[in-house]
């Protein structure tokens, strides 16, 4: 069943993207899109980006889990903003203005986001960047009105060792009235580094977008390239990718579980989870030669193969994890002082999670049932048996429980994958040809979405890697409202969004 927005998009001119079609809309048709989106809430916005001449949007029809892309020419005039209809578009529109210089007409918010006024160029990815020199402007924050409100600036340098980001709290006593994030401190110019290079060279940047979710990003990048040139990697490569992805999920979920407890000053689970994670990481290093499996997934396949004794090392480390999960869970649940901290803290409303199309544990703890592993093109997952846990509670505790349940599922998946690891090639040759592809791979934070366009020489003409955190960061601002300031670290850790992943 298609709603008004879906029909509007599909009335455009198809551009030959795979596996989901991209339709080019005239500026007039795009101008009708916000109103049509209002009437079709089931069409979620997954990402919004641009190239030098066009603005592209990726939508997901939630009931059918079908994605569709829409584009409109943007150079020389303003494109219609989607943020009035889809709140998740706000940060994308800010980014598009800063990187490509396309201005969204009627946008909710266009304040600077990544560009802190310290780059030598304005709109570095536009056809003609403008040289810029001068004093960096003072950041603007949204006004907060009320009696006795004061501001707490936190970061970008923190007392602990975490990624840099600035948080501006407006508080009344201990209660947070508004939180605003200001990121961009980890801007690396990733997009301009990737443009004009070959996919084999650019995958290294995708792998370094956010170190903890390197497998998911490099797989999503590779899958987008493979879709663009219509290549299917050999089965062994796909199985090894899934194996690495699940191991990545396991070590990150273990890490987050420990850190959430530690942020409530309950250090025992932190110590145990850290110990178990270290065991898994060492097994991974033995199997794949790198603790985080960076640069193991390449366009066309994987390299190198799993080490001869790697499977045993992985299974042994997972046995240790599995043996300790019940007692850790018991400790987590039985301590009233800990439960008092996590239950009802940082509540995220299900309608907000749906409105922002939040993926991963953030969405699934607030009732949004989406997992990119269930998409039919994401082999080998359609051949494997696994559950996707979904909860409605939406608090720190619910996000934690989702993680623990996913941990069990991932361990079972690793066993399945190792049991039926097919023999054969690891790499399929990549033809040099033009094409356009999109891929979504479920990392531990949610689906990593990569769009790529190759020119006739097989070089990257357009690229956008969208980390799941793009749609989760704004929700953290919503979840912390009316909580106390001292509970922010706990909420923040339960979301665990990536700073680096969004500071493109």
């Amino acid at each position: 069943m298609m709603g008004p927005a879906s029909s509007l998009i599909r009335s455009g001119n198809p551009q030959g993207a795979k596996p989901y079609e991209r339709f080019l809309l005239s500026p007039t048709a795009w101008g009708q899109l916000p109103a049509a989106l209002q009437q079709e809430p089931a069409l979620a916005l997954l990402g919004l980006w641009a190239d030098a001449t066009q603005v592209h949007a990726c939508f997901l029809h939630e009931p059918s889990a079908e994605a569709v892309l829409a584009s409109t020419p943007a150079a020389g005039w303003n494109y219609a903003a989607l943020s009035p209809a889809r709140p998740g578009a706000v940060r994308f529109e800010r980014m598009i203005l800063e990187l490509w210089g396309h201005r969204a007409e009627g946008a909710v918010d266009l304040r600077p986001w990544l560009d802190h006024g310290r780059w030598p160029l304005r709109h570095p990815l536009a056809a003609k960047p403008i040289p810029f020199s001068g004093e960096p402007p003072q950041p603007e924050f949204l006004p907060v009105e009320g009696e006795g409100i004061h501001q707490i600036p936190v970061g970008p340098i923190h007392a602990g060792v975490i990624e840099p980001g600035h948080f501006r709290f407006s508080v009344q006593g201990e209660v947070v009235v508004r939180l605003e994030q200001r990121l961009g401190y980890k801007h690396k110019g990733t997009l301009s580094l990737m443009l004009g290079t070959s996919p084999r060279a650019a995958v290294r940047y995708a792998a370094r977008l956010s170190g903890d979710t390197t497998v998911a990003h490099s797989w999503a990048f590779s899958a987008a390239v493979e879709a663009a040139v219509s290549v299917t990697p050999p089965p062994r490569a796909l199985h090894l990718r899934a194996l690495m992805l699940e191991l990545e999920r396991i070590h990150n979920h273990l890490n987050d579980w420990g850190f959430v407890c530690n942020d409530a000053a309950f250090a025992f689970p932190h110590a145990r989870c850290g110990f178990l994670r270290e065991g898994v990481l060492r097994a991974i290093a033995a199997a794949f030669g790198h603790r985080l499996m960076m640069d193991r997934v390449l366009p066309g396949g994987v390299a190198p193969d799993i080490a001869p004794r790697g499977a045993e090392a992985i299974l042994a480390s997972l046995d240790a994890v599995e043996a300790e999960i019940p007692s850790l869970k018991q400790i987590y649940e039985a301590h009233a002082s800990l439960q008092d901290r996590v239950v009802t803290t940082g509540y995220l409303r299900p309608d907000l999670a749906r409105g922002f199309a939040a993926g991963g544990h953030v969405g699934r703890a607030s009732g949004r049932d989406f997992d990119a592993r269930r998409l039919p093109q994401n082999l080998p997952y359609p051949t494997l048996a696994f559950d996707v846990p979904v909860l409605e509670a939406g608090d720190v505790d619910a996000r934690q429980r989702i993680r623990v349940m996913e941990l069990g599922q991932s361990i079972a998946l690793v066993r399945q994958l190792l049991a039926k690891l097919p023999a054969g090639e690891l790499m399929a040759p990549l033809p040099v040809r033009a094409g356009e592809g999109l891929a979504m791979i479920e990392g531990f934070r949610g689906e990593c979405l990569h769009w790529i366009a190759l020119d006739d020489g097989g070089l990257i003409r357009g690229i956008f890697p969208r980390d799941p955190s793009w749609l989760q960061w704004p929700l953290l601002e919503a979840a912390i409202e009316n909580n106390i300031v001292a509970d922010f670290p706990l909420c923040n850790k339960s979301f665990n969004c990536s700073y680096s992943g969004v500071d493109l």
Binding site: V154, F268, A486, D487
Partner: protein, 324 residues
């Protein structure tokens, strides 16, 4: 007159030995608690002497002050440490009858602790960073409830012993003439709660945290560095030692050498004191490992309960002494 002179000399020696012991022991005690907590978590843990090493390292470093720091930032660590040292000198460890014993009034100790806390809160607010302010407001909110508990406990002891002088109170408790009293039990629980809050321990505060938004004690000294940080850290260790020594002296008074006793009694007192402190440090480490930090707005409830217990203890005593 020569006997009087000898007594004074002995009490002076006791005092000096006591002070030296407490000053040397304080960082070791902090180190022991940290080490025990690490062991309980399955970690190897830093050496118990690590706090001493850190102190010696920091003492050699010049403090870095904010441009707008006033004289308060410079003076506060010295004021706080001086008050803490003086308070620590008043709480007996291995022997009673120290030269400062006549001044060892519980209310004076409470006042000295309040002075050192006041200096810390001022230092937190001096340069005007947000975290210092948050820490200072939280600390003062907690102190407003914690201080009356200490005064109420002093009241209970005063009713039982007829004085608020710590040395005399311990002497009376040591004789065991009072027996077990319900009010003393209440006072013990109330004082334990205050000790936890005063020393920034879990569940009120987390001494190991790196999360600036959750800090209380650490937030106030977030700007401190070098020598000043060493003084603040030493002061915090001293307070922990002082509180544990106070609890041990009042509620576990056995083994302490009597006034004017010789070196043999001192050695016994010293060994018993170290055993008591080790037991308390172990209890603290176990307690801290088994509990999460409470939400900030629950701390006033927690201290309010302690206040109520102290009040109940005092009321029971009033009623029972009135009836008998």
């Amino acid at each position: 007159m020569s006997g009087g002179f000898a007594d004074t000399l002995i009490s002076l020696v006791t005092q000096v030995l006591h002070l030296a012991l407490i000053l040397a022991l304080a960082p070791v005690l902090t180190g022991c608690v940290r080490w025990l907590k690490a062991r309980l978590m399955g970690r190897r843990g830093p050496h118990p002497l690590q706090p001493w090493r850190d102190l010696l390292k920091l003492l050699r470093k010049r403090p870095v002050l904010a441009e707008n720091a006033s004289a308060i930032s410079r003076a506060a660590p010295y004021v706080a440490l001086a008050a803490a040292v003086l308070a620590a000198a008043l709480v007996p460890s291995f022997a009673r009858g120290m030269v400062l014993a006549p001044f060892a009034d519980l209310l004076l100790i409470a006042g000295l602790l309040a002075l050192s806390r006041f200096a810390m809160a001022l230092a937190g607010m001096d340069v005007g960073t947000a975290f210092g302010g948050i820490g200072a407001t939280r600390e003062m909110t907690f102190a407003a409830l914690a201080e009356p508990v200490l005064v109420l406990a002093a009241l209970i002891f005063a009713i039982l012993a007829g004085t608020t002088n710590l040395d005399v109170i311990i002497g009376i408790f040591q004789e065991g003439a009072l027996g077990l009293r319900v009010s003393l039990g209440f006072a013990a629980v109330a004082l334990l709660a205050v000790a936890v809050a005063e020393n920034a321990r879990i569940p009120v505060d987390n001494p190991a945290t790196h999360l600036e938004l959750t800090m209380v004690h650490e937030a106030m000294i977030l700007e401190a560095s070098g020598r000043h940080l060493a003084l603040w850290d030493f002061q915090a260790s001293l307070r922990l030692t002082l509180w544990l020594a106070l609890l041990a002296a009042v509620f576990l008074p056995f083994g302490m050498a009597a006034p004017g006793a010789g070196p043999i009694a001192w050695v016994i007192g010293l060994l018993v004191f170290i055993a008591k402190m080790a037991a308390l440090a172990f209890a603290l480490a176990v307690f801290e490992s088994a509990i999460a930090k409470m939400r900030v707005f629950r701390v006033p409830e927690f201290l309010g309960a302690a206040l109520l217990l102290g009040l109940l203890g005092a009321v029971f005593l009033f009623v029972s002494t009135g009836l008998s």
